[in-house]
């Protein structure tokens, strides 16, 4: 077939991802970010590498050396995960790495909890769901994974979730944030119902909504709605709430980009 000369390709398309790729490899970039403490370092690194067994080994060693299991959650596991999240946000590593690190981190947390009777100070709970009638759940799964990766407790109500189940879960879990995902124009209207029923009960929790069919204009139509463009916004919204409160207006100002 007809072909392009190598030097002509750039006139037709530019592989911006190639031209922009950072000088440093991800491993090098991670290395720069690990904490120096020699008990913490191996745990953080094992998190980054997504190696559950190494995480447990590292925790064991640290606890044996006298570290408090519950403190390790924040000081080692979350710190390691923080490295991962930062590299993901900077475009240096990709989602599957985050997923595998998060799995490793969750195993680590379970292990720490098993070593003591203390209960860790929770960072905050988020209730996630996919709108009633909708089976598209990958976006929600990513949202949930990234929230967990950032240390939030996630109550995942799954897909095709009836409105009333969302309301019940919110009443029970008292989350700092509810998320909804919908990929079809015919299902996203359930968000309005969730909003109305929450308000009926006097619950003014931010309700972050996203997914293929959903757009900012739509979400702006109901009082509690905050539009989320990409999954990585979910932990940012949750962090924003912890830092600056749950005023919907402020949240919209920060996250409504269109």
């Amino acid at each position: 077939m007809l072909d392009l000369k190598k030097e002509d390709i750039d006139g037709i398309l530019i592989r911006y991802n190639v031209s922009l790729e950072k000088e440093m490899t991800p491993d090098e970039a991670a290395e720069e970010l690990y904490p120096k403490d020699e008990l913490i370092y191996p745990i953080a690194k094992a998190i980054y590498e997504g190696e559950e067994d190494d995480v447990i080994d590292g925790l064991k060693a640290a606890i044996d050396a006298g570290k408090n299991p519950i403190a390790l959650i924040n000081d080692a596991l979350m710190v390691g995960m923080g490295v991962v999240s930062q590299l993901y946000d900077e475009g240096i590593i990709f989602l599957p790495n985050v997923m595998m690190s998060a799995d490793a981190m969750l195993d680590g947390i379970e292990y720490c909890k098993d070593q003591t009777d203390e209960v860790p100070e929770p960072k905050g709970t988020v209730v996630c769901h996919v709108a009633e009638g909708d089976v598209h759940d990958i976006g929600k799964n990513i949202v949930a994974a990234l929230l967990r990766a950032n240390g939030f407790d996630v109550v995942d109500l799954g897909r095709d979730c009836p409105v009333d189940e969302v309301i019940e879960a919110v009443e029970k879990e008292k989350p700092i944030l509810v998320t909804g995902t919908a990929l079809m124009t015919t299902t996203m209207y359930a968000f309005k119902e969730v909003n109305d029923k929450l308000l009926e009960k006097g619950i003014k929790v931010p309700f972050a909504c996203g997914g293929g069919a959903v757009n900012q204009d739509f979400v702006s139509q109901y009082e509690l709605g905050v539009y989320g463009e990409e999954a990585a916004d979910a932990p940012k919204i949750a962090e924003f709430i912890l830092a600056s409160g749950d005023g919907i207006e402020k949240l919209r100002e920060e996250f409504h980009k269109h």
Partner: protein, 461 residues
């Protein structure tokens, strides 16, 4: 019974071109697909409020149909296909789907009678075979789905399609974890098994009603991978992995034609060039004029061998230039007009090469799907055509080889990240067993344990 492909439909990749299929398909009112011309396929989604009642829904589709047909005659388009992808209510209530098909076809017949415009109606029921937590591929939901096909076939649908979901529970788990075996198992093995079952039955229904069993797409898996992979700057999935999933999906979607479907394959099957090279069936495609529905990195390339050219889906609403179906339909019609001029003047291969080159080096996905590479993936599939596991594994291996060559040529420039992901897939593939029994038993053990929602009985296992 399914008859597996063990040879290629075309002697050489260069024979693959838009508008011509080795086995053209007659359908609807005067239309012949793949018989020397391309035809726009207009797709649409009803406005949200329209779902409220059956009456509203029918009215909505009547409007969509009239608008679309009207615009086609206004600009002088010789032919058009309309595709209705069911909203869930239409499949779950089979008579609804039938009534919508009937209402649409009535309008299309009026236009055909008045203007002579060639046209056909495709209906695509939703794959409703699941409950909230699990796939439920067999049983009463299956019967309901088949009843839906019956109803639409009896009431005016000319082309029957579905985007079936077999294997997706394992795939969904695997794709977010770079788990090559799981991707292959979900698409190549489980997906293929389900395809063989469902398409044998759809082909029977089509035959009985004298309509066309048109084909399936691996939307549920390969497209999910493509969407997660996203644009050049997205960082959720390496595009090298997305294209491996795509290559595998060709073996899976091919099963429809082995079970009796004849094409045109569905628009969102980016694996369709590979399938056309093997089977010679006409195919629908979507790309640069389906940006209303999604973004991709091979907008022109996919036109290379299309017979129908689609906008995938657009919500029905107003624009300055008319309703959305009119706007996108018109754009498609002009795209087809360009291809048809090339066909009539004998310049089609030249135009095809321009389409292909537009995106061949834009992304690893386009590189492998470029027709002469797609043809090679096809060859890898038919080499072990009778074994769903081996042939899809072959496709994955050949895909990686093609990418390696592209990198070596210096023209396909990948990021380090993409290269690394590719190397991992290659290593994973090399470690897989050589026979399908072994692979099946390894995977059953592994995924029954790891994927809570995986139910082997969905596949008769």
């Amino acid at each position: 019974m399914v008859q597996k492909y063990t040879s290629m439909a075309y002697a050489s990749a260069d024979d693959l071109v838009f508008g011509k299929a080795k086995f053209p398909v007659k359908a609807g009112l005067g239309l012949e697909i793949g018989a020397g011309y391309t035809t726009p396929e207009i797709n649409y989604a009803p406005r949200p409020q329209a779902g409220k009642s059956k009456e509203k829904l029918i009215k909505e589709y009547e409007r969509i149909t009239t608008d679309s047909m009207q615009r086609m005659v206004q600009i002088g388009a010789p032919s058009v296909v309309l595709e209705t992808e069911h909203v869930e209510q239409m499949t779950n209530n089979p008579s609804w789907g039938g009534e919508v098909a009937h209402a649409q076809k009535t309008i299309m017949e009026e236009y055909h009678d008045e203007y002579g415009i060639k046209c056909a109606l495709r209906h695509t029921p939703g794959d409703i075979r699941e409950d909230r937590d699990f796939l439920k591929l067999r049983g009463d939901k299956y019967d309901l789905l088949m009843e839906s096909f019956e109803q639409i076939a009896q009431n005016g649908a000319d082309l029957l399609s579905i985007e079936s979901m077999g294997g997706k529970e394992v795939f969904d788990y695997s794709i977010l974890r770079n788990d090559t075996a799981g991707i292959l198992f979900g698409i190549g093995v489980l997906g293929s098994m389900d395809m063989e079952m469902i398409w044998s039955d759809i082909a029977d229904i089509a035959k009985k009603n004298n309509v066309v069993a048109a084909g399936d797409t691996d939307c549920a898996q390969a497209n999910t991978a493509m969407f997660i992979a996203g644009g050049l700057l997205d960082k959720n999935l390496a595009h090298t992995i997305a294209i491996v999933a795509r290559a595998i999906s060709a073996g899976r979607s091919l099963c429809a034609y082995e079970a009796g479907a004849t094409g045109p394959g569905k628009d969102c099957g980016y694996e369709n060039t590979i399938i056309k090279s093997i089977s010679g069936v006409p195919i629908a495609q979507e790309g640069k004029s389906s940006t209303c529905a999604h973004s991709d990195v091979m907008g022109n390339l996919v036109m290379q061998a299309c017979d129908l050219w689609s906008n995938e889906s657009v919500e029905y609403h107003g624009e300055f230039g008319g309703t959305s179906v009119q706007c996108w339909g018109e754009s498609l019609a002009y795209d087809c007009s360009l291809m048809n001029v090339a066909l009539k003047t004998g310049k089609e291969k030249g135009l095809r090469d321009l389409f292909t080159l537009s995106d061949k080096y834009r992304d690893p996905q386009g590189y492998v799907l470029a027709y002469e590479n797609a043809y090679r993936v096809g060859q890898a599939i038919v080499k072990d055509g009778t074994d769903n596991y081996l042939r899809t594994k072959n496709a994955a291996v050949e895909c990686c080889t093609i990418l390696d060559e592209g990198i070596a040529s210096g023209k396909l420039r990948l990021t380090r990240f993409e290269t690394k992901a590719l190397a991992k897939v290659q290593a994973d593939l090399a470690a897989l067993p050589d026979n399908s029994d072994q692979f099946m038993s390894d995977c059953l053990t592994k995924y029954k344990e790891e994927v809570a929602v995986f139910r082997p009985e969905n596949y008769g296992l």
